[in-house]
Amino acid sequence: MTLPASISDEIRLDGDRKPVIVVAGLTKRYGEIEAVRGIDFAVARGETFGFLGPNGAGKTTTIKILCTLANATSGSASVAGYDSATQRDSVRRNIGLVFQDPTLDTYLTASQNLRFHAELYGVPNAALGPRMRQVLEMVGLWDRKDDLVSTFSGGMQRRLEIARGLLHAPHVLFLDEPTVGLDPQTRSSIWSYINELKRREDVTIFLTTHYMDEAENCDRIAIIDNGKIVALDTPEALKASVGKDRVRIHTADDGAAIASLASKFGLTAGMSEGAVTFAVTAGEQFVPRLFAELGVPIRSVSVSRPSLDDVFMSYTGKTIRDAEASGSQAMRQMVRMRGRR
């Protein structure tokens, strides 16, 4: 007599406090292109772990390998105690997945979509009704359950997908760019739903994003660039590691101000969004000196703590937007190559 699957999984996860996701030396090549170049990390139970990086950095590829949708070229990945390459069905039973592109059947109603999902996962009929109501209420769609998905807005569809990903009570929920393409208001409402579900469900969340503010919601972040993890820590620790505050000033003569910052303080400043911008340690204490010694009239000044933007910048030497631009160029090149084949 074997234990029911869910109970045995519980023991696997509880008995030894092993991490829920373990990735070691993972690489993935698509022909000439090396999408993932040897990454290692582990995610603890109950953690919200984020992959932050520009498009084309290898985030989605990593998710696909973890979720059994792609084979690694080398290295290993395990989820909920099962190997993603050799124990696919066991991994699949224990994960929920919200994809970057919508995967709802728009011909069906919200509840039909959930019902199909439940059958694919073998959710017992007795549990289905109450569970369906619970997840739909969690995302605020219970009163729309009988409407066709094609009548839903982008934000509602994404919420429904999150509800569907949770329906079978997975141990790990994967969110691939959960708020991409949504307006800022909808994005923040999606995040309040995600935070709510974290409070209620015993679930580990692995998400990818290229939004800095979204990454702030994570317990830990891995910054990924060009298929490699360049930094991995809590958002606070990452920001502290940069150490410097960002100062923005508006002056009467920006060119003279930049020259003066270099000659008098040894600081490298640049123009960003119409303001002279530079990084300096203990920015607030620096401001009085700046006024006294710069020699160029200053019209306004602002000091901000390092953001994840600065973190990304300091680890990769470029902003995430710059990386995005060169990434999409590489993507276009790849498409052209495929076309020629």
């Binding site: 066991s90 709802l104 017992p124 329906l167």
Partner: protein, 297 residues
């Protein structure tokens, strides 16, 4: 009102999450998955009435326009009392499932582009049950389509004989299954919707024309004879025509002229074998499709 029926959780209290045990994969679970994919196919067909209507246009054109138009020409070769429409009816009936069956597989390509396929592929079900469900679903809706066309049998002077109808429906089901399996096999490899549509469009008419649906399979030049024998639809149009003619009483009817047996270098292929060929082809194409879907990138 939704807000009134909501549990305390909606007001911010913590409630026990409902535990759900996802069972280990087993035969019962896989059977359920076949059912899910099959039912989805039916629901989609039901919501897409336009498709049901448009796919009847072509067989109706062939039977009533081409069939009537060519009758006077064809009269010379027909015994009195047999109309050309009756002669081509079994072949056109086969055609009525041809488009629906092959194009039902197109939704795989569609789903791949629009993501739903991934939702299914990441579920803990065997790739086999997904493919089987898809083939059975396509076969069901295509047969349904064929049955609508079967209702028009009277206009082609084909009798509504229960035994005949049962045989024809069975043969339509088999044909639909094989054609869907063929479509699914191709959909497993072809990732772009346009490419899939172009390829199937290109294949459908040759399959129909080479099946002997519009002419008897005798006295043909060697090259055409060879091609008709390669076309899998030949092996179902033959038995369907035999079934129709067996239920007609036409004096002076010469079976060997109008409905000759399918021969391989002079050897007549028995009817059970012709049907068996179609079934085996369907099963093996489905097998290839399953192998294709098992591959991960």
């Amino acid at each position: 009102m939704a807000t009134q029926t909501a549990p305390p959780a909606a007001q911010g209290e913590l409630v026990e999450s409902i535990r759900v045990a996802v069972p280990q994969r087993g035969l019962r679970h896989d059977t359920r998955a076949v059912g899910v994919v099959w039912r989805r196919e039916l629901i989609r067909f039901r919501t897409d009435r336009l498709r049901a209507v448009t796919s009847l246009v072509q067989p109706i054109l062939f039977l009533f326009v081409l069939g009537t138009g060519l009758s006077s020409l064809a009269r010379a070769g027909m015994p009195p009392g047999l109309s050309f429409k009756t002669f081509i009816y079994p072949g056109v009936l086969a055609m009525s499932v041809l488009f629906t069956a092959i194009f039902s597989a197109a939704s795989i390509v569609w789903d791949r582009e629009f993501g739903f396929l991934r939702e299914i592929l990441v579920a803990p079900v065997s790739r086999g049950s997904i493919v089987i469900g898809k083939c059975l679903g396509g076969a069901t809706i295509a047969t349904f389509q064929g049955v609508i066309f079967l209702a028009l049998a009277g206009f082609a002077h084909v009798p509504y004989n229960p035994e005949l109808i049962a045989i024809l429906v069975g043969e339509l089901l088999l044909l639909s299954f094989t054609l869907t399996a063929f479509g699914v096999m191709m959909a497993a490899r072809i990732k772009q919707f346009q490419a899939f549509m172009a390829l199937t469009q290109m294949l459908v008419l040759p399959l129909f024309f080479l099946s002997g649906a519009l002419y008897p399979l005798n006295g043909l030049p060697t090259w055409l004879t060879a091609l008709t024998r390669i076309d899998p639809i030949t092996y179902i149009v033959g038995p369907m025509r035999d079934a129709v003619f067996a239920h007609l009483a036409i004096p002076g009817f010469e079976q060997h002229l109008l409905a000759p047996a399918i021969t391989w270098a002079g050897w007549a292929v028995p009817q059970w074998m012709a049907i068996g060929i179609v079934a085996v082809m369907g099963a093996s194409m489905m097998g290839v499709a399953i192998i294709e879907f098992r591959k991960t990138e």
